[in-house]
């Protein structure tokens, strides 16, 4: 190997190690017995044990929180896709007054300062008696994901040649049939990219849920994880097992679909 090549590969290896280290450390801490976790000098070789996973998954309400997370996430993704599909079809294929304004509003909403608006959202939800409800989370997460979803799906719909639809309509389909038989199947990659985006957003959301859903039976995993850390204090092994349990679903989906997400993000966020 040429020295230049060696140098590049060496840098790449060090960088890979740096980026992977926190994840590696999380997983490895979760698999060590406590006497090997709580040491001044880290232990790198050990026989894995799954006791921390038992502790974490048997902790109070873990399964309730996990189920809540799943319901809130899938609910938000499905509703966002349905609502966005209608809107993005209109925007991509039809001509109407106010379309430009609508597109600008959607673009602006993509950067909405949700983190700064938690208090207002909380007071609104309280006035409507909608605190401590998974339904409220579904609505809020759906709206958070909506702008990106509309924007990205619009691009995917616009990319389908209009002639396909027109010829289907010539053959006797109405507009709705043409959409579901011709366009919808071609949208699969777009639907995947956007639902993954929504999935990650809702699965990870912390600020809203910690304000809106204070009762233990309606909270989601990010709150469980943060509460777990507080409750289990020094039991870092169990805490890391909890963090791993929370991370693994996202990681798997993300690794499988990363290319589409990069493309989707590039199209939806970076290119505006």
């Amino acid at each position: 190997m040429k020295p230049r090549k060696l140098w590049l590969n060496g840098t790449a290896l060090i960088l890979s190690a740096l980026f992977l280290f926190p994840v590696y450390w999380m997983v490895s801490s979760s698999l060590k017995e406590n006497s090997k976790v709580l040491t001044k000098d880290p232990v790198f070789f050990f026989v894995p044990t799954f006791e921390h996973y038992t502790t974490a998954s048997e902790a109070d309400l873990f399964w309730t929180y996990a189920l809540n997370s799943l319901v809130a996430t899938i609910g938000a993704v499905v509703v966002a896709l349905a609502v966005a599909l209608l809107a993005s079809y209109a925007v991509a294929r039809m001509r109407f007054r106010g379309k430009r304004a609508m597109l600008l509003a959607v673009m602006a909403a993509q950067l909405a300062p949700w983190e700064v608006l938690v208090i207002a959202v909380y007071l609104n939800a309280r006035d409507l008696s909608m605190l401590n409800s998974i339904g409220t989370l579904v609505i809020v997460y759906c709206v958070m994901a909506l702008p990106f979803t509309i924007w990205t799906l619009r691009g995917f719909i616009a990319a389908v040649p209009k002639e396909l639809e027109e010829s289907a309509m010539m053959d006797g389909c109405n507009r709705r049939q043409a959409f579901f038989r011709i366009i919808f199947p071609l949208l699969a990659p777009g639907l995947m990219a956007t639902s993954l985006f929504g999935f990650i957003l809702a699965w990870n959301e912390y600020a809203m849920v910690s304000v809106l859903n204070k009762t233990p039976d309606t909270a989601t995993l990010p709150r469980w994880l943060n509460g777990f850390q507080t409750a289990f204090g020094n039991d870092w092994g169990a805490t890391m097992a909890a963090a791993t349990l929370f991370t693994v679903p996202v990681l798997l989906v993300f690794l499988l679909l990363q290319r589409r997400v990069t493309g989707g993000l590039a199209a939806g966020a970076v290119k505006g």
């Binding site: 290896l13 960088l15 209109a90 700064v116 207002a120 616009a158 990069t262 505006g272």
Partner: protein, 328 residues
């Protein structure tokens, strides 16, 4: 992708931009089958956005002009007090500390993210297939890590007693890292938040830059090299101009994202110690949910949103000019 508008499909008659056309369309919507269809299709999306986001923005603005503390919270009364909240916020030293902190924090993070992200993006281009795969998988893993999980892990890495960070510092020969508490000051807490945010944000920049670079033809770069340009020169004179829109837009996105970063700072140390690591969103949250000073918190939020709006207006100008260039 362009913001421009496609031709109308046959069933929907194009509406004229003139007043007469608008009038006709409005009056004749019953006679023109389908003219209302697009509005029907966008209605749920508009309703959802206005109902949740719009309502929250309006509520936040109204709240900023109200005295709204624990008493009003319980009795559900409204007391408008004009600019009192803004006056109080703008006169408090803590707010200005927080403003300065937020700006410095954002600047440091964004510079680090852009520089490191760009270097790694360029490095990805130079690597062979295998090494490129290794590095991009590592980046994707860091990118995919949920914020709260990452925050918890960083807490563990920087634990006072058993943290790897203290061990690493000791191994590198630094003194005073036997039981170093990394969360003992606001600056140190924010430094860890910086490492966390940079670690989590660099992959977005690096992978997207690499994806963008792969559309740049290698011939241009080869030609520049033939002409004797070094790496820096190639970057400055060839890659940077081509990727200019990417750099501008990513930088603005990162500014906005870091500026409003909440869980990373809040879950790390609750804005502490002694509220020394409060950035603006964290301060608004603590003031509101922690101290029940909803009116004051809303005033802080409004000021934060104003700053964000200024940043966003730059972003929109960029996007719009870029769209025009694309169309031309």
């Amino acid at each position: 992708m362009t913001v421009d508008i496609e031709q109308a499909p046959p069933p929907v008659p194009p509406l004229k931009g003139t007043t007469a056309g608008r009038e006709r369309a409005r009056r004749g919507s019953g006679r023109l089958p389908g003219a209302w269809v697009p509005y029907l299709l966008i209605a749920p999306a508009i309703a959802a956005l206005l109902g949740v986001l719009g309502y929250a923005l309006v509520r936040n603005l109204l709240l900023a002009f109200q005295e709204f503390g624990r008493r009003q919270f319980i009795s559900r009364t409204t007391e408008y007090t004009g600019f009192d909240n803004f006056r109080e916020v703008l006169q408090s030293e803590r707010f200005w500390d927080s403003v300065v902190r937020t700006f410095v924090f954002t600047a440091v993070n964004v510079v680090l993210i852009m520089v490191i992200g760009t270097l790694i993006g360029l490095l990805l281009r130079q690597l062979g297939r295998a090494m490129r795969l290794v590095l991009s998988v590592s980046l994707v893993v860091a990118w995919a890590m949920p914020v709260i999980a990452a925050t918890t892990v960083f807490h563990w890495l920087f634990d006072t007693q058993f943290g790897v960070a203290n061990w690493a510092m000791r191994s590198l020969g630094f003194d005073g890292y036997e039981q170093h508490n990394w969360f003992s000051s606001g600056t140190s807490t924010l430094a860890i938040a910086t490492i966390l945010i940079v670690w989590a944000s660099v992959p977005f920049v690096a992978l997207n830059l690499y994806a963008g670079l792969s559309t740049v033809s290698t011939e241009i770069i080869e030609a520049a090299r033939m002409d004797g340009a070094g790496s820096w020169r190639v970057f400055r004179s060839v890659i940077a101009p081509i990727m200019r829109p990417f750099f501008l837009i990513t930088t603005f996105l990162e500014i906005i994202w870091v500026f409003k970063a909440f869980p990373q700072v809040y879950a790390l140390n609750g804005g502490g110690p002694d509220r020394e690591s409060e950035t603006l969103p964290v301060m608004a949250y603590i003031e509101g949910m922690g101290q029940n000073q909803f009116g004051l918190a809303a005033a802080i939020s409004v000021l934060t949103v104003l700053v964000l709006l200024i940043a966003m207006s730059f972003y929109f100008r960029l996007i719009l000019t870029q769209e025009k260039e694309n169309d031309a």
